[in-house]
Assembly symmetry: C2
Homo-oligomer: 109 residues x 2
DNA sequence: TATATTTATTGCAATATTACGATTAAAGAA
DNA sequence: TTCTTTAATCGTAATATTGCAATAAATATA
């Protein structure tokens, strides 16, 4: 069946997994790191920087944009992509809540 | 062609994406949260708790185990799964390094 | 207008993931 | 040994993801 049963999970669990899925490909990790590093970017740069074909990069950018983690401003014939700082902060809060769970000392194993 | 080109990315980028992929399904998020909550678990509990079939849960557990995020001890006919706290801490360090990138104020957009 | 540049979209092939029924394996109980 | 319980594995169908060539769209420039 191959289809994730999102309806049986909480909103928080679905949120965590949606963000995590976005980070679940090294190209998207690399894109985000590059955007953080140079703090402004056009797609062409990324194609050279990352080494995947232009349509592939464009597709990854679209996913990140749909999720709201990046935004793109048109600048002439190119597009200036950058981190959506507000949404990045919100995402971080969701992920940290998940990652920072308390580990009780009395562990069974 | 459906195959991720891991070889063109850094170890760190591949590490982040590998961990993120594990969290990229709500069932695995739910499993981990449940393990944190009750701090010991058998697979049967999870099947009831989460509402997916036993083979499906077993498959998700296997992925988490392979990644080293959980460990399982045999206890009679059942298996006691729990968080691998050491590895969880290591994973957290990798993820935090990625999530906590500095956002410069002079953003282009 | 015609041309060049840059990014998005389409279409498709290859691979990966998700889910579960059926079965197997392992260990305790009768 | 046989039965029961619990979890893993196998096999398979459905769906999702990845990657790119070809093409389209949008805008700047000659």
């Amino acid at each position: 069946m191959g289809i994730t049963k999102t309806e049986i999970f909480t909103d928080q669990q679905n949120q965590v997994s949606t963000f995590a899925k976005a980070f679940g490909h090294p190209a998207r990790v690399a894109i985000l790191q590059h955007l953080f590093k140079i703090n402004a970017c056009i797609c062409g740069d990324l194609v050279e920087e990352i080494g995947l074909a232009q349509p592939t990069i464009s597709q990854h950018l679209k996913e990140l944009k749909t999720l709201g983690l990046i935004k793109g401003n048109i600048e002439g014939t190119s597009i200036c992509y950058c981190i959506h700082t507000e949404n990045w902060t919100k995402m971080k809060a969701v992920m940290l809540q998940f990652l920072d769970q308390d580990i009780s000392k009395e562990n069974c194993c």
